[in-house]
């Protein structure tokens, strides 16, 4: 047999070398940080941070899917080994799991005054991080629908996605169970914040039929983007900011928050165990909680900004964006956006395993 993987602050001690090493390794999802329009290799806010602090940041976009990334780093974290990253960005539920396993380092609120000041109230004191010292939100976002107008007409509902014959084989859904099932639950008129096993099963059954009929090409992480842009995928479930970014280049690519409801999530920054630049990480998190910086990021990534005061800053950058509900949600959208309910461990396992079986792996 094998032993469990849980760690505690005592069993796994991390050393902070920030004093001697001016480096920081930051792993994030693709399309989650501003890029210079002129030069794709430049990231303005990050470069500003580097020149301001002298900390050399290695930024990698190597997180594509929560489960996939967790599978990759799990053995090391379980063994209390460094994973070669100082900050990782994981979705709320996955952050909760990592924190539960004792794999995240506690941060020092004193060194993150901006966070303390500017974190949106709705994101404070969450169940898995009561004191806001383990998981600091990077961005929030919506999971909804997207389509490429060059290859298909408008898509408005989840059901269209799952059944419209002209889309057959050119639809991708998200491998993120909470997003895909959440959207279907809502399309079925159920509430993802509170649903029953039977409702889950019904949603899954619907999904299964769609898969079996050949409607669904793939289940993706963030990797729907290139194919959607290309047109090999006509329509898909997608994350808001990504699609809005694509729209900027090709306006016929559109994001749709279905009338039945979209899924709301937050992606949080964590400092994993044995990461050796915690102080730098704290500095970076604090930096990105300056409203002006946050607005600059939001103006590029088009996700929901977790920083209070950023909307005001946005007025100065791009007034249109400041009123875009997908970035600064209005009440109407807020009403249509649901979080996925927190699951007990068994329920989570049962759902994941059923879901995974359907998505084919």
């Amino acid at each position: 047999g094998t032993k469990g993987a849980r760690q505690t602050a005592a069993s796994c001690v991390s050393e902070d070398l920030s004093g001697t090493e001016k480096r920081l390794l930051f792993s994030n999802w693709p399309q989650y940080l501003d890029v210079d329009e002129e030069n794709e290799a430049k990231r303005p806010t990050l470069e500003a941070f580097q020149s301001r602090t002298g900390i050399q940041v290695t930024y990698t976009e190597d997180i594509n899917d929560n489960n996939e990334f967790f599978g990759k780093v799990r053995p090391q974290l379980a063994a209390c080994e460094p994973i070669g990253r100082d900050i990782i960005v994981l979705s709320d539920w996955m952050a909760a799991r990592v924190i539960g396993l004792g794999w995240a380092q506690r941060l020092d609120p004193a060194r993150m005054a901006n966070v303390g000041r500017n974190l949106l109230p709705s994101l404070r004191n969450r169940t898995y991080d009561q004191e806001n010292v383990l998981a600091i939100p990077w961005q929030c976002g919506l999971a909804g629908l997207a389509y490429n107008g060059r290859v298909t007409g408008e898509i408005r509902t989840v059901d269209e996605l799952l059944t419209r014959p002209d889309l057959k084989g050119r639809v991708t859904l998200l491998s993120e169970m909470r997003d895909t099932i959440g959207l279907i639950l809502q399309a079925d008129g159920h509430d993802p914040t509170n649903f029953t096993d039977a409702q889950f099963d019904a949603a899954l059954e619907k999904l299964k039929r769609a898969v079996a009929s050949g409607q669904i090409r793939r289940f993706t992480g963030n990797d729907y983007a290139p194919e959607l842009a290309k047109g090999d995928i006509a329509a898909c479930m997608a994350w808001s900011g990504d699609v809005i970014q694509l729209s900027a280049e090709d306006e016929r690519i559109r994001f749709v928050a279905p009338d039945s409801g979209a899924m709301l999530y937050s992606d949080d920054m964590l400092v994993p165990n044995r990461a050796s630049h915690r102080a730098h990480a704290e500095a970076l998190m604090d930096y990105y909680y300056e409203p002006a910086v946050a607005a600059q990021v939001a103006a590029y990534v088009n996700y929901i900004c977790p920083v209070q005061g950023a909307q005001a800053e946005m007025e100065r950058i791009d007034p249109d964006l400041a009123t875009n509900p997908l970035i600064f949600p209005d009440a109407a959208l807020q009403a249509r956006s649901k979080k996925f309910m927190t699951l007990s461990e068994e329920r989570e396992r049962a759902y994941e395993s059923k879901f995974q079986q359907v998505i084919g792996g």
Binding site: G1, G4, N67, G71, G169, V211, S353, Q357, V358, G360
Partner: protein, 288 residues
């Protein structure tokens, strides 16, 4: 030097030569295989988080097979198809290189091998470009009405089998080439002289004498193809997923080690059974 001392040293020599490599394979191949077997019998209720207990849960096997027999079937089906295609394509190529290429032989041979240096992934992705719904090939096929107007190649069994065939084609070509290269050409002339038409020469002499290469080639193609999941992952849909995709997900996404291990063990056993049965019938000398 006394005779006996040097004699003992000489008797020991083969063991000294074989030991490091054999040891490596024992520790990093045999032992892991045994551990895999053990893992497949762990309590399926465990998890990596809570740890696994060894409960000799043989039930993992029927459970795993019950849930994924379709994927097994598909794997062997696709791999069989890809192997047959690779044989069909690889044989003429090997034949031409070995017997007809003359001074181009070296260059052609190198052309068969060199793509292996361009990563398999990169090449598979290139297939994705070639077969893309918006690509020239699909456009052409649609224009020729060989493909329905909304028909596609990507995300279909065609794409997966194409890529599998492609990926393991060199492993088919090389052994066949080697056995054809060894073939005594005078035998071909003898057959022609004995009133055999070209097709008969091939059927009665060339083919039977290259059989060892064919056997080695089919094994070297079929086995990895049956375990492949890159092709299905990149070019297929969940309806094309093979057992490799399932095992990959079991170990890396679902983190269900017992089930993943059970699936791996079944895959290995089925392949061994097929290979042994095949070798019995094919009567091949040696793989590789």
């Amino acid at each position: 030097m006394t005779a006996s001392r040097s004699g003992r040293r000489r008797r020991l020599l083969p063991y000294l030569l074989a030991a490091p490599g054999a040891l490596w394979l024992v520790v990093f191949f045999l032992l892991p295989a045994i551990q895999l077997g053990a893992t497949s019998l762990y309590d399926p209720a465990g998890s990596l988080t809570s740890g696994y207990a060894m409960t000799w849960s043989f039930g993992n096997y029927p459970d795993a097979i019950g849930a994924y027999w379709v994927h097994f079937g598909r794997s062997f089906g696709y791999a069989g198809l890809a192997t047959a295609l690779a044989l069909l394509l690889g044989y003429p190529l090997a034949y031409a290189i070995a017997l007809r290429a003359g001074r181009w032989q070296n260059l052609l041979l190198v052309c068969v091998v060199a793509p292996m240096f361009t990563s398999f992934l990169v090449r598979t992705l290139a297939w994705k470009t070639v077969l893309s719904d918006t690509g020239t090939l699909v456009g052409l096929l649609r224009d020729l009405h060989l493909l329905a107007p909304d028909g596609r190649l990507l995300a279909s069994p065609v794409a997966v089998v194409t890529s599998l065939t492609y990926g393991y084609l060199p492993f088919m070509v090389l052994p066949i080439y080697a056995s054809l290269q060894r073939l005594d050409r005078r035998l071909l002339e003898a057959a022609r002289d004995l009133n055999a038409r070209p097709a008969q020469v091939f059927r009665t002499v060339t083919l039977p004498l290259s059989l060892p290469g064919v056997v080695a080639g089919t094994l070297l193609t079929f086995i990895p193809a049956a375990g492949d999941y890159i092709s299905a992952e990149l070019l297929g849909t969940p309806n094309e997923y093979m057992i490799g995709n399932v095992i990959d997900a079991a170990f890396l996404v679902r983190l269900d080690y017992p089930q993943g291990a059970a699936l791996s063990v079944v895959l290995l056993l089925v392949i061994l059974a097929l290979a042994v049965g095949y070798l019995r019938r094919g009567g091949a000398e040696e793989v590789g």
